[in-house]
Subunit: 442 residues, 4 copies
């Protein structure tokens, strides 16, 4: 990573002049360690509430690729954060970092591109909060950066254009949304303080010699909390733990010999081969069936509205602790999708009958380099997001909105039900409501 | 039918005073015989074109039941027809006849209500054209009045409110639509003549002593044809021939010992019994399978967008000569809907295993009185609508539009494709196009 | 028989002469109170293990109706229980009781038939264990006897003929199966004792003056336990809590103003009406959608292989804490089945648009008397089977086998996976394995 | 093709010694021209009957690849044909030709391998009959050799191992089957003559100087016809005419600028790309919908039991003149499969939204070299197999059996219905019929 090592060099000399500071790309290893929030149950509610022990500082922002307009939004957003919140450090993907670092008056941090099937080193040790600008694909890519981490930072997603299924904030709401997340969990005491956005002078940047690793305190912040009930709401999406193993038992899904977490699903698929594949399916260690098909999906409930849905799977609410097994174009009339307990181990094995034919394995829409040959196996288990002691850990903590656009409190179900209706056109009624301009029926 | 016999009496004395004439309900037996149009192929086209040998006179109009507003439309429509077209006779269902006959200045004709599982006598011998005011249900009811007739008159359907799948004209288009149908097939010669609607004086009523059974000629009509290409377009929907037989071979679907024609489908169903039914299915005389299910549908292609679709059947274009076998909630993972050649006989037999349990049989949404017990059988065959000599006969000749609202010529496929998109919301795309006001996503 | 006559003797203080005694049908109110077992988690296992505080005594046995052969099996089974186990009391449904009480040398207990939409009084206070002889329908009927009880006794089900999906024991296994259940949880101490069936002398009759309501102790039993690991395995099937309410809020599902528990599902359905119904669906209090369909199913995971499956629902493992919403023949292309968290309230409301049309409501295949008209509502919630303190309560505790026919320990998944394959013919492969005798392909 | 050109040379000198003759591989251009049979309607029947004007001579035999045992069957079969029937010429695929020509005492003919997207030159001008040894894949490959021919020779298919859906003869039946085909249409006159297989001396080989291009006459054959009713039965499977066009309108499906015929289907598919594709679908020239999916299938009724079935399509009888449009994993809840009239043109266009992403196009399981980029289009039309004058032409004439294994006449429906049941396990009933050995339920 030439670019990063370059910044490493400039960082080595530590030229802390304000100008220098603005132009460089710095390594994330320079950042203070991550602040981990906790997720608390709310009475009679299904969504959790976000509580920061101290305000988040290291913000990773990912954006949709190959979409020019988004770069401006990225600059606008990061500028807003750095000028309105004290101690904010902006982490960008290497590409974005080199794209914008000269255009912004603050330093950007980045990391070295990960090896194939790996994740960027240190990223999960340094990131307090993830923000995404894009669609579901951008959220999936952000989540894949933490696909070897047990604790993913909270994810705040802004749709650029069409709203997707995994995120639900519009970009034009970014000020309010970020503030809600930032202040989430700050005690009432600060509710009276005034807050930058209200018009008073922006909070002074941290003094140059501020030790980067001293946490902020909400008491230091000249702003106001959103009120005690206005903690951000979190939908903790549980993931799949996926291992891909060679015939000799060596792991091939990951460069770090670890399970890879998937947010949506893991898929084995015939890919470019025009022929059927034969996949043995084991559930809880017992042989279930031989799948003859284009491929096979093991999906989380979150992924139930993605590829699994297209393949005929049921829609499963993200809070049902389960795994889905959904065949893709099975050559059988009776291969119905299954919903299994999240803690049931499932594996897919490529048997002898596929001589010479490889299958593609993809996790959340990204192919694992190497593919999968005869004798190889994909092993999956659901992630536990509630510990025996009742704590909520792991998963992808997704920030959902607590009020609608005009300030009305939303019920917990509103997100999901609203999404089904608005995005999936669930149970769209027949009739000619909008036939106005449709040729033959005009 | 007291009322009808009453009119019969008044009619017997033939007191043709103008007043008397307006108040009475007359029997259809008094009407001249039906004029049968022919249906001609159009070059490179899939829809047929309608040709009357002489202008239609006896117009049956059915309307949706229990929907008050429609009565006014009925009066408006019949008044338009009788004042603008010579020699028009209005036939109404008994209920409608008694509802409006006092309100209109022309006689109305009606028939005696049919016995259970029967059709009104003489109706198919007297009706030149059927018009319906309502939705698909009204069209189905109209078609059921001819369910023992091999030649159904052309059907011109006006939607009141929502457009359905079987009809596509809006009521506000009735003047243009009727004229198009009325003039359809009149030779060019008449194109120069002026037409009532253009403002000149209405055509004189037929002289009192005009024999009712002398056909009109287009030459007599002071109007103009729509031009040689502007014949009405007809989609000849082929029907199913359905026979229901008792264990002893006696027919029970019909009081006249004849097959009953269905436009959509015939269904056997558990009805009020909360238990599975067991139905043996025979195709081409060969035992195909034992269906254990809520019920079984045998549908025409026209019916493929009705109940069969709800039960998971494919959408079949009305011009594919075929029958559909679609199970309703089958207790098997592998009972996939079938599409069979229209000329394949299919039968459904209620076997011994259903001891003591009856099933409901319905044709186009109307239950056959009597139900069906063990040993009974439903036999179905598709109707042939093209004779070996290439003539088009039978079916339900449905008038479809030839131009869009603003005068543009429509292609033959436009109707069906337009209907899929506008009515069925076929392949409705995901996304938040209209999420503007949807709570959680607002 | 000896032992029982012994007890008979203890009953002698009441005026029950030994002969008279054998012929009578006694009320269940005469029985000692129920013994409630506990259900314990097994390490690394998904099924629970059954533990009786003291041996079960009051055994309710239900059998399939209208199937003559089963009566003999009932006599054989009850005779085995009463002659081999001390203190066993046989409870039968009123019909069975009067059918066999004269043929058996021991008293039978029964209860008064319940009022419509009610359950038999006292039954759940008196029954230790339920045994069923029949199929899934018999199990559903047995469970419906406890449809107002929060704690259903364990259910041991014997298939007569075809094995169903809810039970998996064959009748010929009844001796071993009952012993396993009876001894389940007896401490090791008794493992050394010899047991009646081994051939040695039957356990001593209970002393004459044993009060009927003093529990037995395993120490009293001269038998042997099946070994410490050989407790019976229990699949705790969670149920649905169903309330049906009139437009005025009065409850109509139950004569006792209580929720009714369903094992499979609750259904609203058009029944004998040949027309579509319109049902408003609410999830978590939020309006989800207007269902236009034959009907709507809300199912437990257990019921996912019943009606819901036939209607296109996914197969959901019984241990996934969830509810299924599955439409029946919906008139929409996009009404996909949903899987929701078990604790999400769902309701179905019959809106104004259905003027004059009633729907049928059935719970586990039994219609609620009265049906459901406009304004009425079905409210459903999943049953919690694990308390916050970690205890397992409620549900239908179904005894599953722990070893296969030849003594091999079974894994917990074996039951379900085996059932999918053997019963549902899940993913049955294509090919001509058994085409040997199939006409055209022979 | 060195080998072939080599034989061309040796053939040039025409060294007709019996030994030389046996070892060489000859070019098909040396063969007499093809004999085209006619297909006649049978009264009250759906299958056609095969009539040769004179006995077939040039027999193309294809076999499954990479399956050693089949080579022996090929030798056995060709030896049988050449020693028992006069004037038989064996055509093999180049690979098979070089594999067996040294092992057999008769010459084999072959052709030059076709260029990409092409078919072998002259093959369809020379082949009287095609025999396949293998499964459906072998039949598809054989049919692809004629994918630019309007008249495919009759195909007689022998299953090696499992019976497939497209063929239904077992290899062990080859003698009877071939004789039935060979004699099909011979007039009654020959029914009295004795036939080789009956034991008498084999027919003499044609004299060396027999001109190869003089047709045989059934009168020359010392055998017996199978009787006048025993003509072979033919299912004329209609194909799809497929054209693939570049954005500039140049054709890319074929090296000969001609439509390619498909027996099963044409597919566009994302292939190795893990992302959704966007395909515009036009029906009858009208835009139907934008498909967002893994891909799209346009299938013949024959192909309805292949990939289309796996993707959720209905099963369509091969005699329903139709095309199927079936999406593969569509990202829409409402993209239901369609069945369209065979003569409706359908096209699939890869629109602008897929920037930079190619799709795979495959015909009958073989990828078209080149793939398909933005702006490209697949155009499909059903093949007409009945001319306006009532003749049956084109399609793939598949020989089906007329009697079952034990001599019983089969009905026309038996093949299809038998295949559904035996091969597809259509509507396989639930229950434990064969649960005998299935672990948990044993
Ligand atoms: N036929 C299909 O439905 C296919 C689906 N996919 C899905 O795409 C995902 C990868 O996304 P991209 O890289 O953007 O690929 P992409 O460009 O193929 O788009 C995938 C689409 O799926 C949507 N999506 C992703 N996750 C979703 C979820 N959990 N619920 C509802 N919609 C969701 C996105 O909004 C986007 O519209 C995979 O995880 C897989 O689920 C991938 C290939 C084919
Ligand atoms: N997911 C799926 O169902 C897929 C299906 N295919 C089908 O495979 C065909 C190519 O065959 P192969 O080269 O042997 O590939 P293959 O090795 O992928 O096997 C295809 C299977 O489909 C069966 N099959 C082929 N045509 C059939 C028909 N008309 N009706 C019923 N079954 C049929 C064959 O018996 C074989 O079992 C394609 O035309 C396509 O229809 C190809 C890829 C995936
Ligand atoms: N079309 C369908 O699939 C219908 C299904 N049913 C089901 O029948 C049940 C009532 O049973 P019966 O009184 O015996 O009626 P029934 O005589 O209609 O038989 C129902 C069938 O469903 C099976 N079944 C019941 N519960 C099951 C489960 N949990 N998993 C798998 N299979 C199961 C039974 O073995 C039997 O084969 C209802 O709870 C409902 O689920 C009822 C009506 C129609
Ligand atoms: N679950 C379902 O989908 C059910 C469907 N039906 C259908 O209803 C028909 C009877 O109609 P109604 O008396 O009005 O009953 P209804 O009041 O139940 O309405 C049936 C609905 O089906 C529509 N429809 C009728 N024929 C159609 C066609 N060929 N294509 C597309 N949509 C069509 C109508 O517009 C109406 O929306 C039956 O022939 C049957 O096909 C009847 C009962 C249940």
């Amino acid at each position: 990573m030439k670019r990063v090592s370059a910044c490493s060099r400039c960082f080595a000399s530590r030229p802390f002049s304000s100008t220098a500071r603005r132009r460089v790309i710095r390594p994330i290893t320079d950042l203070p360690d991550r602040i981990k929030p906790s997720f608390l149950e709310r009475p009679d509610a299904t969504l959790l509430s976000l509580h920061w022990p101290s305000p988040p500082r290291n913000i990773l922002i990912t954006k949709k690729k190959r979409t020019p307009g988004i770069t401006n939004s990225l600059i606008e957003y990061t500028s807003h954060l750095t000028s309105n919140y004290p101690g904010i450090n902006i982490i960008l993907e290497p590409e974005s970092a080199s794209e914008i670092h000269e255009a912004v008056p603050f330093p950007v941090y980045t990391y070295e591109t990960a090896p194939p099937n790996g994740t960027p080193a240190y990223l999960s040790d340094k990131t307090d909060l993830v923000c995404t600008l894009g669609g579901d694909g951008t959220i999936l890519r952000a989540s894949s950066l933490f696909s070897h981490a047990t604790a993913v930072p909270p994810v705040l997603s802004f749709a650029m254009g069409t709203i997707g299924f995994l995120g639900e904030w519009k970009f034009r709401e970014y000020k309010r949304a970020f503030r809600e997340v930032y202040m989430s969990g700050a005690s009432d005491a600060y509710a009276k303080l005034e807050f930058p956005e209200t018009g008073t002078s922006p909070s002074p940047p941290l003094a140059i010699d501020d030790p980067l690793d001293k946490p902020l305190s909400y008491a230091d912040i000249r702003g106001k909390a959103m009120g005690p009930n206005r903690t951000a709401r979190v939908l903790l999406r549980n993931r799949l733990k996926v291992g891909v193993f060679g015939p000799d038992g060596t792991r091939i899904n990951s460069s770090v010999d670890q399970d890879t977490y998937a947010l949506n699903e893991v898929i084995v698929h015939r890919g470019a081969s025009p022929h059927l594949k034969i996949v043995d399916v084991f559930v809880g260690g017992r042989f279930l069936t031989e799948g003859v098909a284009d491929g096979m999906i093991i999906s989380s409930p979150t992924g139930s509205t993605a590829y699994s849905l297209s393949s005929g799977g049921s829609i499963v609410h993200p809070l049902v602790p389960s795994l889905l097994l959904t065949p893709i174009c099975p050559r059988s009339l009776s291969f119905r999708p299954l919903v299994l307990p999240a803690n049931t181990p499932i594996s897919l094995r490529l048997g002898e009958k596929n001589r010479g034919r490889e299958v593609d394995v993809s996790i959340d829409g990204r192919r694992i380099s190497g593919g999968m040959g005869v004798g190889m196996e994909v092993r999956v288990l659901g992630e536990h997001v509630k510990t025996p002691t009742g704590d909520w850990v792991g998963g992808v903590p997704s920030i959902v909105r607590g009020t609608d656009g005009i300030g009305m409190e939303l019920k917990d179900e509103d997100h999901w039900v609203g999404g089904l209706n608005a995005l999936l056109k669930y149970n769209y009624p027949f009739g000619d409501q909008d036939s106005g301009d449709s040729g033959g029926r005009a």
